[in-house]
């Protein structure tokens, strides 16, 4: 680790030099002190997986069932923004806070135990690595209907051919699940809904958002323009129903 920290110090030092000559002056509103603070937190908490350069190739990356994000690419699965758009600051903050879990195992741990200011400082670091100067505009998620229309949800699941990857029973074993690759051409699995675990969390609003925007960097595409909000809500309820072991889970009181 000593070597890594030394490298990071060199990188940070020279980055400061280039900031002086204006190369880093493109982030209006960015708080340099917050970014510098974030780099300290990043060095302590994040380099093991995301690497000194933020390229997702830290020394611990190889043990993970899905590789850490290459932050330099600026592509994020958990967004409230359309496919291809940058995430919002809030999206990044929530992902850092919540971590990323999924049917393929826990991937990124929750950093909820860090002080809020530290987590916002990490958001600044991620945006710096990813060159995010123009956060995307979030989609609007209409209020969750009081009644879950599971029959309609099943129809939409069929029409949008979710079973192609996620399987007719939601177990992640559809015919295309065998050939899925992530953006770095590594094997990736379709989420098994019966576990009730989702990369962006099991809150209904989150599941709705994942279906709408897709998970960039994974094979999951955006379906937002292919169904009405009512249909997307019915589909969300249907997806959640695969993982429900109690009425609490169906009503979304799992958080």
């Amino acid at each position: 680790m000593r070597k890594i920290e030394a490298l990071f110090a060199v990188a940070a030092g020279l980055a400061t030099v280039s900031a002086v000559d204006g190369a880093n002056a493109q982030q209006p509103g960015a708080d340099p002190a917050l970014l510098e603070h974030g780099k300290e937190i990043y060095r302590r908490e994040c380099v093991a997986c995301h690497g000194v350069e933020g390229d997702g190739a830290g020394p611990g990356a190889y043990i993970l069932s899905q590789r850490p994000r290459n932050l330099q690419l600026g592509v994020f699965k958990l967004r409230s923004t359309p496919s291809g758009e940058n995430p919002t600051d809030q999206d990044l903050f929530e992902a850092i806070t919540r971590g990323v879990e999924g049917a393929a195992g826990a991937m990124m741990p929750s950093f909820a135990s860090l002080p809020e200011r530290d987590r916002w400082a990490l958001v600044a670091v991620v945006k710096d690595f990813a060159f995010i100067e123009d956060p995307g505009k979030p989609i609007s998620v209409p209020p969750r209907p009081a009644h879950a229309d599971l029959a309609l949800g099943a129809q939409v699941y069929d029409r949008l051919q979710c079973a192609s990857c996620h399987g007719a029973d939601g177990m992640g074993d559809g015919p295309s699940s065998l050939t899925l690759k992530d953006d770095q051409k590594r094997r990736i699995w379709a989420t098994d809904f019966t576990d009730g675990r989702y990369k962006g969390g099991a809150a209904p609003d989150e599941v709705y958002t994942r279906i709408f925007t897709g998970l960039d960097g994974s094979p999951m595409p955006a379906y937002g323009s292919k169904a009405t909000p009512d249909e997307l809500w019915a589909l969300t309820e249907y997806v959640l129903s695969f993982g429900a072991t109690s009425t609490d889970k169906i009503s979304g009181d799992t958080e």
Partner: protein, 254 residues
Amino acid sequence: MTINRYLSRRTMLSTGAAALGVAALPRLAVADYTEQPDIAGGVLKGKVMLSGAPPKPEEILISKDHGHCGEGAIVPDPVRVTADGYLADAVVALKDISQGKPWSDPGTVPKIVQARCKFEPYVQVARKGAELTILNEDPLLHNIHAYELIGRARRTMFNIAQPQAGQVDKHVLKMRRGDVIEIDCDAHNWMSAWIYTADHPYVGVADSKGEVSIDRIPPGSYELTAWHPVFGETAGDVAVKAGETSEFSVQFKV
């Protein structure tokens, strides 16, 4: 004179990042291009060739949707080469050209169609920042998954589901640093297409005889690059004279 640009860019990316931190990585410089509607200029006419035996093509088994996609195996990225070595599907482009004929010439509005579980066309060119029209003609789920190639990394540009026939999406081809867009369908892993993006319209795709022609070029000396989905990029120099047709040839070596 083969230049593996991907390798050199990767080297730049990794050493640059290690030495300078992320602040030093260059952002996309938006190249200005000035259109000159009246330009006559000269013509470049070229042949793209492959020397050496083409590599054994990678085949992928058609594993689903046989009714629409067919049976057997498919080569996602075919090397289409004639018996006498002329290579199709290579993109030839002039480098560093900031003014000339208008982009409005035909053939520069990008469109991609998914039909019988194949993308059509396989290789095309587009202006950086142009709007791509995406059409699904198959009555089954395709997802158009576009990546910008940056060094050896693939950067997702967008990933949109089209579960029904007749669905149309549009997406602006906003590039960060790369020129090449790779297009996949995760639902049918043998589907493959490529879009080469440029700042200027002096770019063309070699036809089935390996022939490519670029017209209305301002006279001068240029570096010319040729890129192919399987063989990467090579480069050379060409000279263009007003009112004349100059010939060139490009060779990819296996």
